[in-house]
Subunit: 457 residues, 2 copies
């Protein structure tokens, strides 16, 4: 060890030069007393300057390590930080528990464009087979209490969100769906798995829908709903009788579709597929643009070139569906209902600031711009790192939508949120010794609304 | 501004002394050429020393700010970190959106011990009123397809978990419950609200159960289940016929209860209450130890003094129930079923390491130590900061339990997890062009098991 280091060690701790007894680098000890006074003052000033500077930098180091304002609570924070770091380490281990060389390993891999991708073996007689199965299995009817059996399908990626708050909003989102579906007798499948390594991300819904159709013949309609879409009208019911001659119901606008060929002519965040051969065929026709890799990249260019307003990126399921329905219009459109008389999908930005106005002027059951059926947080991406909108706007708006809906559920129990931004609730009705009167009056299921006109039956 | 600062500014940026042209503090410019050679070398060494030192400290500052090993990805991490910090700031705003002086504000407050606490107005004739209501409302029967209507109730605190991974496991836990309940025709209420400011935490289930009984007369059984309890036997069904003369079914051991008076003689993490007057009365008798503050503290001391093995802490609902059933045994026990022939609650530590052995030797539908119905992660507390067990053990075990259960659900769809620690799935069966054969063979609902003997019907 050189004399410089020894000198630093002798000056203590971090070896920063101090204003006292700072030996020179060559080992010769120059006491301050042996210099002219001017030089002494100069040296002193220099030393003080360096001390202040490096002390300042030391404080910055400490600040960076333990955080400002935490000096009084460093123990608890240190433990908390330890727990979070340990958790992340464990998660990383869990996430890495896989063999990248395992051919069975379902990771989203690129597809050889020379091999034609299919969703599965061709099923050609599903209507007949399904009908026969239903006849043989009367204990699994496709209509219950006069209503067609609906299966609501949603999901999210298998791993924790990049942004921790994302999992909290996924939890609130599924609670919201559980409430709606309990009230309306709808079953739920929450998917946390990638069924097809070639179709992950927004394309994952295609193999999932197909799989569920074939595994649940008792289900009449499969309703896909994004995890970032919330029910905001707890009373409104989909007017299924309107769709008896249709097999796909999706929120969209004919003029945007056929006149403008816009890439947002319809929205695949919330749509219904009838469980039938036609739907299997449409899924087969829809899937080819999806496989990850050169196919999806090239398809993306085709879509951007042909659809108005579409940015340049890989093929997404929504653009691909629009393109398919435009290019094979005669084959498919007679069974596709582009619904816009209520918000099967309601783009959040125009809705979330009006909830108080809605509560003042209108009532649940309308499902449209007066009381939106579904508020869909397109572009917010709370689970990921990069949304298209400011985080504050998104989180606050999702909180408002959740509470706006939750108020409609809590009403039966006599509670409501303090405000649309508050997770806390308050009583809106005194407790009663005659609870059944309250049930008769407030249970949504006892006042079903079947038509989008909002009339109560 | 003094000359020192000017000097620092002229030397650039952070004002750290450099080896070139460092003007002296008194403004006199001493070029290096005017000093003897030895002194020049000494000064140079000093300057280099200081440069290296402060450079080193600067690096420490950067490290503390952006993290080790991130120098190659500092942009993305900086953005990520910004997002997380912004999210936390927004959350803090949302959480603070409340008026502490609002009397309607439902925060857990201490109770004046001189005022007798009650869950609500006394209901005295619930059986008769409920029966009349059921008769008048045949469209809301309490038995459906021969099965008593069950409402599964669970929940978690309204705010994001202290530990971010907690929300991810709450999400997986509710997905697990959604799967079981869909297969077995059970409705779910997921509670995210505090209905009673005096009874929060583990006591929150009491006002919630009461509220749901009174609001859902069509429900025959209310099944409370903790958020840290997972279904691990997707086939097993509760043998309700066994309990036709009982009103409370809870996992427990008579000898631990009556001989040892143990504080873990039963477990309130998973239990069923019949919707009837007796249950309302029991809830009323159970609640008095719960109110936050001196009541709960003092009650805790009574419980610790009377129950074997109980540590010293405030009264919890489980200990309070044991104490109540012991001290008023004749009043209540004839309607309480202490169930231990299957794992209505299965303590996780003895179970999670045996899942592979179970898969090898046994099959779903048994519900007991061979294939546990419920695996309950008592003490893990993934949502909080301080569990009773090492984080790694808890998280890994919860992952295993989740996947062990999920395999039973995915089987119908032809998939299974790569391993019990892996979120990724693989095919366990080739796709087929005859999907209905698979349905007949693998749909759990078509092979119900009603008795804990595990026989298939």
């Amino acid at each position: 060890m050189g004399k410089e280091n020894l000198a630093q060690k002798r000056s203590g701790g971090g070896g920063l030069p101090t204003s006292t007894a700072a030996p020179a680098a060559n080992g010769r000890n120059r006491g301050l007393g042996s210099l002219p006074r001017g030089r002494q003052i100069q040296k002193t000033f220099n030393n003080i300057k360096i001390t202040i500077l490096c002390g300042f930098v030391t404080i910055l180091v400490l600040r960076g390590t333990i955080g400002v304002g935490n000096l009084g609570n460093s123990d608890a924070d240190a433990v908390n930080q330890n727990i979070i770091e340990e958790t992340n380490r464990i998660l990383a281990e869990i996430r890495s528990d896989s063999d990248p060389n395992d051919p069975d390993e379902l990771t989203e891999t690129e597809v050889n464009p020379n091999i034609t991708y299919t969703l599965g073996p061709k099923i050609a007689n599903w209507d007949k087979e399904r009908k026969a199965w239903l006849n043989s299995n009367p204990e699994f009817p496709n209509f219950v209490n006069g209503k067609a059996r609906i299966l609501l399908v949603t999901g999210s990626p298998p791993k924790p969100c990049d942004n921790p708050i994302g999992d909290h909003y996924l939890l609130k989102s599924i609670k919201n769906k559980i409430d709606y579906c309990r009230i309306h007798g709808i079953e739920i499948v929450y998917n946390l798995a990638h069924l097809d390594k070639e179709l992950a991300g927004y394309w994952a819904k295609l193999p999932l829908i197909r799989r569920l159709m074939l595994s649940h013949p008792e289900v009449e309609w499969i309703w896909w709903m994004d995890s970032d879409a919330l029910f905001t009208d707890m009373v409104f019911e989909i007017p299924l009788s309107k769709y008896k001659n249709y097999n796909l119901v999706v929120h969209g606008y004919p003029d945007l579709m056929f006149d403008q060929k816009s890439w947002i002519a319809l929205n695949t965040g919330s749509f219904l597929f009838r469980n039938c051969q036609w739907s299997l065929d449409l899924l087969d026709a829809w899937a080819p643009m999806g496989p990850k890799g050169p196919i999806r990249e090239e398809a993306g260019k085709v879509l951007t070139a042909n659809l108005k307003g579409r940015p340049a990126f890989e093929a997404d399921d929504q653009s691909a569906l629009i393109y398919l329905l435009l290019s094979q219009k005669d084959q498919w459109m007679n069974k596709v209902f582009l619904e816009n008389s209520y918000y099967l999908h309601g783009y959040w930005a125009g809705l979330v600031d009006r909830y108080e106005e809605m509560m003042e002027k209108y009532h649940p059951g309308l499902g449209d711009e007066r009381w939106p059926f579904v508020t869909h947080f397109v572009g917010c991406k709370p689970c990921g790192s990069y949304g298209d909108y400011p985080v504050e706007k998104c989180l606050g708006s999702m909180e408002r939508a959740f509470n706006f809906a939750d108020n409609q559920v809590l009403k039966l129990y006599g509670f409501g949120h303090r405000g649309l931004l508050s997770p806390k609730i308050k009583r809106i009705r005194n407790e009663t010794a005659a609870p059944l009167e309250v049930v008769d009056q407030f249970d949504i299921r006892r006042h079903p609304v079947h038509e989008s006109s909002g009339s109560q039956s």
